[in-house]
């Protein structure tokens, strides 16, 4: 008889992250207090900046779009027991695919350019995920190591590509030609003036579609079933006749392709050209998003909006309260990542105990079940 039982589902997916978030805000508040500012004012500014008006909310959604893609990339890999840390690099190289298609089809229509760019970005990002997957499946090199290394390779490759291949001769800045017409993804502000000048664009619809798609993939397809078997118990998946090596390669490809969607949002939706470091760490935030969202699309959507709000609210904060510098914002974001991501298990044991004390029936039911007898 084990001494503790798992938490009820709602506590696991809602209460625990909420507590972690609260703790992160408390500590952040102390930091704000330390630099001599009013934490309540700061929170007010962040909330208003992120949700209070159309522009701000639009920016929040724009950041969230990126985090949904990278969060899903991490989550898909995690369900198969793989830790894809390479979302950043996968998104970065996917920019190549996006920009090449967008520039080539700049004279057609975005309804043609966008789907093809999605395919191209997904293919390049997917390839950048596939190679570490292949290395793990065939050569036993751990994806954690290889995906980290592939981030650096991506970074070096992109500097070369932008400077030597994509940069038009006429410019000095390290960036590709500008996408002028059809290669641009329409902005939401074109339809809803509410969003002001914010860069949130139709890519958010792709993000929503990806959330639904991943949900269906993981819980309603045979492939998703096999993926979850592999993730939960690789010996059982071999027993079940699931080809672990094939699963690892395909899963990493899907994961890389999802991360690659960031390029649609950034290259075709916001920057309208390929610039250096356009991913800006979204790949790493995706890890925190997936952790906090419990690798479930709904959780990921909520966590992505939270991090989007922190990014946008943080920008706002440094404008409104000069005492809080850009670095302070990063500290606050890091604290949230620390408490909701890295230390997400902090409250689990005490919460489990609390629940056991609160509802002994639950405990008794669990034990009765685990000791059930075949006799009548």
């Amino acid at each position: 008889m084990s001494a503790h039982r798992p938490l009820p589902r709602w506590a696991d997916i809602a209460l625990l992250p909420a507590l972690n978030l609260l703790l992160a805000f408390l500590v952040s508040g102390l930091v704000v207090l330390l630099v001599g500012e009013n934490p309540f004012h700061a929170i007010q500014v962040i909330l208003y900046g992120a949700f209070g008006y159309g522009d701000g909310f639009g920016y929040t959604l724009y950041y969230a779009t990126n985090f949904i893609f990278t969060g899903l990339a991490v989550a898909v890999a995690a369900h198969a027991g793989l830790f894809n840390i390479g979302g950043d690099g996968q998104a970065y190289v996917a920019g190549l695919g996006a920009v090449v298609v967008a520039l080539a089809l700049d004279q057609t229509h975005w309804l043609i350019a966008m789907p093809l760019a999605i395919i191209a970005a997904g293919a390049v990002g997917g390839f950048w995920g596939f190679v570490p997957g292949w290395l793990q499946a065939k050569r036993g090199s751990h994806v954690v190591i290889t995906t980290i290394m592939f981030n650096f390779i991506a970074s070096a490759l992109m500097v070369y590509m932008v400077n030597r291949v994509l940069k038009p001769a006429s410019t000095m800045a390290p960036e590709s030609e500008t996408i002028e017409v059809a290669g641009r993804v329409p902005q939401l502000r074109q339809f809803f003036s509410f969003f002001g000048y914010s860069p949130v664009n139709l890519s958010i619809l792709i993000a929503i579609a990806a959330l639904i798609g991943v949900y269906i993939l993981i819980w309603h397809t045979k492939f998703g079933y096999a993926m979850r078997v592999l993730g939960a118990n690789p010996t059982a998946s071999r027993y079940a006749g699931i080809s672990n090596s094939k699963m690892i390669m395909i899963t990493m490809t899907i994961s890389g392709a999802l991360a690659g969607m960031v390029a649609i949002n950034e290259v075709m939706g916001v920057q309208n050209r390929l610039v250096l470091d356009f991913v800006a760490g979204a790949g790493f935030v995706g890890i925190a998003v997936a952790l906090m969202g419990r690798n479930h699309p709904i959780g990921i959507a909520l966590a992505a909006i939270l991090f989007g709000a922190l990014y946008q609210g943080g920008q706002e904060l440094q404008f409104v309260i000069p005492g809080i510098t850009r670095e302070m914002i990063v500290v606050i974001q890091a604290l949230v990542i620390l408490f909701t991501g890295a230390m997400e298990g902090l409250f689990r044991p005490s919460l489990e105990r609390a629940f056991m004390l609160l509802s002994p029936e639950q405990k008794s039911e669990a034990i009765a079940v685990s000791t059930a007898k075949p006799e009548s």
Binding site: N233, T235, A236, K363
Partner: protein, 535 residues
């Protein structure tokens, strides 16, 4: 309890007094009463058995005695003096030692180092070790427990490792030893050796508490036996005055058939043929050496052998989980192609079902709900959804059918699989594999860690499969199980099938000799497990 019988034995104080007295011990986990008013007295210098099904409360009771849990109420007296035991350190100080089912040894340390570990008597290791060596010599001599103090743990047999555990407890001054399922990992001969050790311990005045499933062992070695059922102590009797049948009935609360009822086999055509199979383990060591045999429809072939003589590798390669170096597996006249890491899928498609040796590591995904496990390995079949999608309703229906047919309890297909008891988990695996109507069923350790009531059910299901004309390959370390189920016994030693026996006529002794590699026709070297004490 209507089956409760008066405590006839050990009520009057024994000559040597009581080593342990437990009175009105209660332990609740939430609303579950894991131990209900338990009274237990253990006479000093005796071997006392405790039997009961999984979840009967044996482990909880022993955990209270060893200081893992504290009782909610009740008193513990050790050697007549009231004691409170808050942790295992205090238990050891009171002379209570425990040998766990899974050994707590450091594999790459020597025997001596393991014994001293945690009981060093100075900051420097050398003097501790040399003092320990002297003490160990004395203990080994006194209790006839020979182990080479300088041998590395991973190099010695499981039986020897268990001796190290016993020596560890004795070194720490244990007067009362608790052994939790000590023979689960031992060969029959090693188990006999263990019993001799226990007898020596008893002769030297130590007290032994033996927790086990196996009634045969209780009958063979204990002086008194206590039976637990559903958190209560239902009886304590003198072993001489009881029988396995009575104990089984007390444990389960109803009559249990201890032997398997089956008719003679009527084998038909050959369904499974293994030809010249050679298989290596993960380290590249050849474990199965040129093995050939055939199984016909309607017969059960049992593979007997000491665990670790290639049976696991044989099973895994036949079922496509492990690559074979050479050889062929022919199913229903067609050679099976098993290469690649999805060989198991092709084996299943061809009609070979597999109940694996280790259900929790292989046969189930314990974090999955029951219904998800009910299709494991068969999820690609069109029955469970056409194309890429999973037909969850169809899977759940199949799961519900399996649960009903095999009487899995609780009959809740949405429950997480880890919450089922060992016997019910095994039923989930069996149901899944048997309900696919395979031609050949390969079963490893069908009843390992399974309650008596479920064992009876599982054995009957296996016989039923045979009578339906399936070919069944059975591997078990329980010689009794093989002898009662199999129609033919193949004995495996060191990767080779060393002989075949008829279960009706072969004695345990003959089989034991073959399992030890001592063949009448071709004498072989003796394996580690049988080498006896190292010099």
């Amino acid at each position: 309890m209507n089956t409760q019988r008066p405590e006839t034995a050990a009520v009057t104080a024994p000559a040597n007094g009581w080593a342990i007295e437990l009175e009105k011990i209660n332990k609740r986990f939430g609303a579950v009463h894991a131990n209900k008013d338990i009274d237990l007295k253990i006479a000093r210098g005796t071997i006392h058995g405790i039997v009961g099904e999984n979840g009967a409360g044996k482990s909880t009771l022993m955990s209270i005695l060893y200081g893992f849990y504290t009782a909610d109420s009740g008193t513990i007296r050790v050697n007549g003096a009231e004691a409170s035991i808050a942790d295992s350190r205090q238990a050891l100080a009171l002379g209570i030692g425990m040998v766990h089912q899974h050994f707590m040894l450091v594999d790459n340390f020597s025997v001596l180092e393991n014994i001293v570990l945690g009981a060093e008597d100075s900051g420097f290791l050398k003097p501790s070790l040399s003092r320990a060596r002297k003490e160990l010599d004395r203990l080994e001599e006194e209790y006839a427990l020979e182990v080479d103090p300088d041998a590395i743990i991973e190099d010695i047999s499981v039986g020897q490792q268990q001796r190290v555990e016993i020596l560890k407890a004795l070194y720490r001054g244990a007067e009362t030893l608790i052994l939790d399922e000590p023979t689960g990992v031992l060969t029959p001969k090693e188990a006999d050796d263990l019993f001799r050790v226990l007898e020596t311990l008893r002769a030297q005045g130590k007290t032994v508490i033996l927790i086990t499933h196996k009634l045969r062992e209780i009958m063979a070695i204990t002086d008194n036996v206590s039976v637990m059922r559903q958190g209560q102590m239902v009886a304590t009797v003198k072993t001489q005055e009881t029988s396995p049948e009575e104990l089984a009935e007390l444990m389960v609360g109803r009559r249990v058939l201890l032997r398997v009822d089956k008719t003679a086999a009527s084998p038909g055509k050959t369904l499974l043929e293994v030809q010249n199979l050679v298989v290596a383990d993960d380290m590249g060591v050849t474990r199965v050496k040129d093995v050939s045999f055939a199984i016909r429809a309607g017969e059960i072939v049992g593979i007997a052998g000491v665990s670790g003589n290639g049976q696991s590798e044989l099973l895994e390669s036949i079922t496509g989980m492990r690559d074979q170096k050479s050889g062929t597996v022919v199913l229903n006249g067609k050679p099976l192609s098993l290469e690649g890491d999805d060989g198991a899928a092709r084996a299943r498609q061809a009609g070979l079902a597999h109940v694996p040796e280790d259900r929790q590591r292989m046969g189930l995904v314990t974090t999955f709900q029951e219904w998800e496990n009910a299709i494991l390995g068969y999820h690609d079949k069109p029955d469970y959804g056409s194309g890429a999608f999973l037909d969850i309703a169809a899977a759940k229906k199949a799961a519900a059918d399996q649960v009903k047919l095999f009487d899995v309890r609780p009959a809740n297909i949405n429950l997480k699989s880890s919450l089922f008891s060992g016997g019910n988990q095994q039923k989930i695996v069996l149901a899944r594999e048997m309900e696919q109507d395979p031609d050949v069923l390969v079963i490893g350790q069908p009843t390992r860690g399974v309650d008596i009531g479920a064992i009876e059910f599982i054995h009957n299901e296996i016989i039923k499969m045979r009578d339906e004309g399936k070919a069944i390959l059975l591997v078990s370390v329980e010689l009794d199980e093989i002898r009662s189920l199999a129609d033919r016994i193949l004995v495996m030693f060191d990767g080779v099938i060393v002989g075949e026996a008829d279960p009706a006529t072969a004695t345990e002794g003959e089989l034991g000799l073959m399992m030890a590699g001592i063949n009448k026709t071709a004498p072989r070297t003796i394996g580690i497990a049988e080498q006896g004490p190292l010099p």
